[in-house]
């Protein structure tokens, strides 16, 4: 298992490998120990071989020892691994979001500036990248062995994964959750580039920007007909909505995060804002996940005017 065949290409990878190596050492030692003792006993106590066979009955102390010692070791490993895991679940504040939509059998990538790619993800070195992922159909899983990270990509719900690439190059990306006959062809690559190269690459793509595309869709799908301040329909003003607390008609209050915005578009009936009639149509099946991501980016971009927060009547 040489490191050359599996590069350590993220900031997380060396930490995981330390734990892996420690486990390999510990478990390897235990395995060798078990086999060695087994062989030794087999030879020493084989039938016909003279050996001291007096005593040797059950002893509680011995048993307690090999109950408690493994347990203590396990707790140690557990603690070590949980520390790493907690890190994997808390993206740094300066991470940039990249949006991934999985579908049978491809990965569609959207960068915040609107750049889109398929089955390839370009990332800058040294910059924490936070993937916000959703599937259009079945469960997939985003797996980059060189980064030692993996996260299932679910339909109907965003999941997240973050990493910081530390080595330039092109690294395989696999779908690791069986998703139908094209599962093994759902492969791609993550290309990690020096920041300057990355900026140049991004510039060459020249796209209108995710929020701008969202603004276009906001009109095309008729959202503006209800949600524009001057529309005359009694619908909430979406300016400043993102991140604000939203009172719902059932009396509860939720925070308007990505998941809330997604569900508001796909399943508006599930969480109706307090003070409004549930007249918003469901866009389930009518808007693809990529367009929903663009719409959300647009809603996020709507600034609060005149210092007024998102207001509910």
């Amino acid at each position: 298992m040489s490191a050359s065949s599996l590069p350590q290409a993220s900031s997380y990878a060396p930490a995981v490998d330390h734990l892996f190596d420690a486990m390999l050492l510990l478990c390897g030692a235990v395995a060798i120990g078990v086999f060695a003792v087994m062989f030794a006993f087999c030879i020493r106590y084989r039938r016909g071989h003279a050996a001291d066979r007096e005593g040797g009955n059950t002893r509680l102390g011995v048993e307690l020892a090999w109950t408690l010692v493994p347990f203590a070791l396990f707790l140690g490993i557990f603690g070590w691994s949980i520390g790493l895991w907690a890190k994997l679940r808390t993206p740094p504040a300066d991470s940039v979001p990249v949006y991934i939509v999985a579908k049978q059998w491809m990965w569609r990538v959207q960068h915040p500036d609107g750049t889109r790619e398929i089955d390839t993800l370009h990332v800058p070195l040294g910059q924490p990248v936070r993937l916000v992922m959703i599937s259009q159909d079945v469960v997939h899983s985003f797996y980059v062995p060189a980064f030692r990270v993996k996260q299932d990509v679910l339909p109907g719900r965003y999941t997240e994964l973050w990493f910081t690439a530390t080595r330039a190059g092109r690294f395989p990306l696999f779908c690791s959750e069986y998703c139908g006959v094209g599962h093994p062809s759902m492969r791609g690559s993550v290309v990690a580039m020096a920041p300057a190269d990355y900026a140049r690459w991004l510039h060459a793509q020249s796209s209108p920007g995710l929020a701008a595309r969202g603004a276009e869709l906001f009109r095309r799908f008729g959202c503006s007909g209800c949600h524009d301040p001057g529309s005359g329909v009694h619908a909430p003003d979406l300016r400043g909505l993102y991140g604000a607390p939203v009172p719902l008609s059932d009396g509860s209050v939720v925070r308007a995060d990505d998941r809330y915005l997604h569900d508001s578009i796909v399943l508006p009936r599930s969480q109706v804002a307090a003070g409004y009639a549930p007249i918003m149509p469901s866009y389930q099946g009518r808007i693809g996940e990529e367009d929903i991501l663009a719409l959300i980016a647009y809603v996020k971009s709507l600034e609060v005017e005149g210092g007024q927060g998102h207001a509910h009547p």
Binding site: M1, L6, V16, L19, M23, C27, V30, A31, F35, M38, F41, C42, R46, R47, A51, D52, R53, G55, G56, N57, T58, V62, W66, T67, P70, F71, F74, L75, I77, F78, W80, S81, I82, L84, W85, L88, R89, D137, V138, V139, S141, Y143, P145, R148, V149, K150, Q151, D152, L154, G156, P172, S176, E177, Y178, C179, G180, V181, G182, P184, Q284
Partner: protein
Amino acid sequence: MRIPESTGSYARDNYLSQGRPGLRGWLLTHDHKRVAILYALAITGFFALGAVAAALVRLTLVQPDSQWISPETYDKSFTFHGIVMVWFFLIPSIPNTLGNFLLPLMIGARDVAFPRLNLFSWYLFMLGGLFTIATLLLGGVDTGWTFYTPFSTMFSNTHVIMAAAGVFVSGFASIVSGMNFIVTVHTMRAPGMRWFRLPLFVWAIYATSVVMMLATPVLAMTLLLIALERLAGVGIFDPALGGDPVLFQHFFWFYSHPAVYIMVLPAMGVTSELICCGVRRRVFGYRFMAWSMLGIAFIGFLVWGHHMFVAGQSMYASIAFSLLSFAVAVPSAIKVFNWLATMYKGVIDFHAPMLYALGFVGLFTLGGLTGLFLAAVALDVSLTDTYFVVAHFHYIMVGGAVMAYLGGIHFWWPKITGRLYSEPLARFAAILMFVGFNVTFFPQYVLGYLGMPRRYHDYPPPFQALNVVSSAGAAILAVAYLLPLWYLGRSLWRGASAGPNPWHATGLEWTTPSPPPHDNFPEPPVVERGPYDYRDP
């Protein structure tokens, strides 16, 4: 003393010659021993089917982009392999064959508590098997044995309902058998057979039965929900219908993790018997051994989330499941150490059953230790859904459960058939199996570590070399599995008579003639001492 040795003549009046003759005598039997044989024949057939499917998979993987079977056929092969091996071989393997045959004999009973129900469970099992074979004939199913949603409910165009029906029905066979065994152990023990005089095999079957009864209904319910969503479009698991795919995984693993213990606990029971006889000593730490099996059965219900560390469950759930998964490893570790300690100061014979038992301990240890890697969330994140996991559970289920099953079959073969088989051939097969197994599955750990995902018929070329080794190992393994079929079969005609106790083993089952009479014991036994009363110098 030579072990095994013929200790008497073939008992003419036995369960095979007594009772109603002919096919009807078998198909309508209430004798637990005959039901055990019916089960054994059925699962041997299913094992062969599952093995053919595995062979297709391994042959395909010899090349990185092999075209010799279509991708669809490949997907259906690994699905069929999984479904058949899990539900139609491993789950019933030890409990319904050796368990059925031995449980009443070991506790000194004439039969199980509900003999008719016992036969009924076999019919349920066969009905389930029929559905499964029908699935195959209709064109197969491609969801993987895990039936993950919404793929299985809304996207797969194959015969999901038929396959689920097979598993559903066979699940009731498990529930019924489990209940039967529990009641048998509670009510049918011979005078003097106190709880802590039960052989560990009985404890193992008892613990397994509890798991079968409590976990299997959840599987049945889950499969029904799949049918409901697939046929009637009721939104349970598919988000497009308002459902939650992760909910399915919770339900599925709530059954399927304990199912691992349905496969492994009986194997631990068999191994304990084999080792005690093989080293001619009392088991070290009898009570710890019995309690640890109950402990495994109990904690085993609380660790299902370790299959879902990357599935989107909450971070805190993952932390709890990780801790509990380490906890369940403790009783398993105790067992390994106690088996080793049992060998200390023993008089060790290397007959075939003992070789299988040693093989079990070794492979189970490796499988268990690699399980610790997967219980550590941070490592699981990169290892899960790769060949590392495939290797891990094959070490537990094939290296562990199948080795123990075959060891048990060899050990009790003289009791079941009254015949001795060829020991040299049997030893050779056991060693070949150990070698073949490791050549097949060890490279898969490395493949998984290097990042090869599961269920890929088409993989990046750098993974080829290790896959070729693995497939070569599978060929060795196939030979090792075919050998016993031959020499065990031959012993039925050619084998020397075993007599009641060719191993000079302790345990009530060895006090009655071989094969045992219809009513098990010529005279109702009375128990005066614990199991494993070996006094050999």
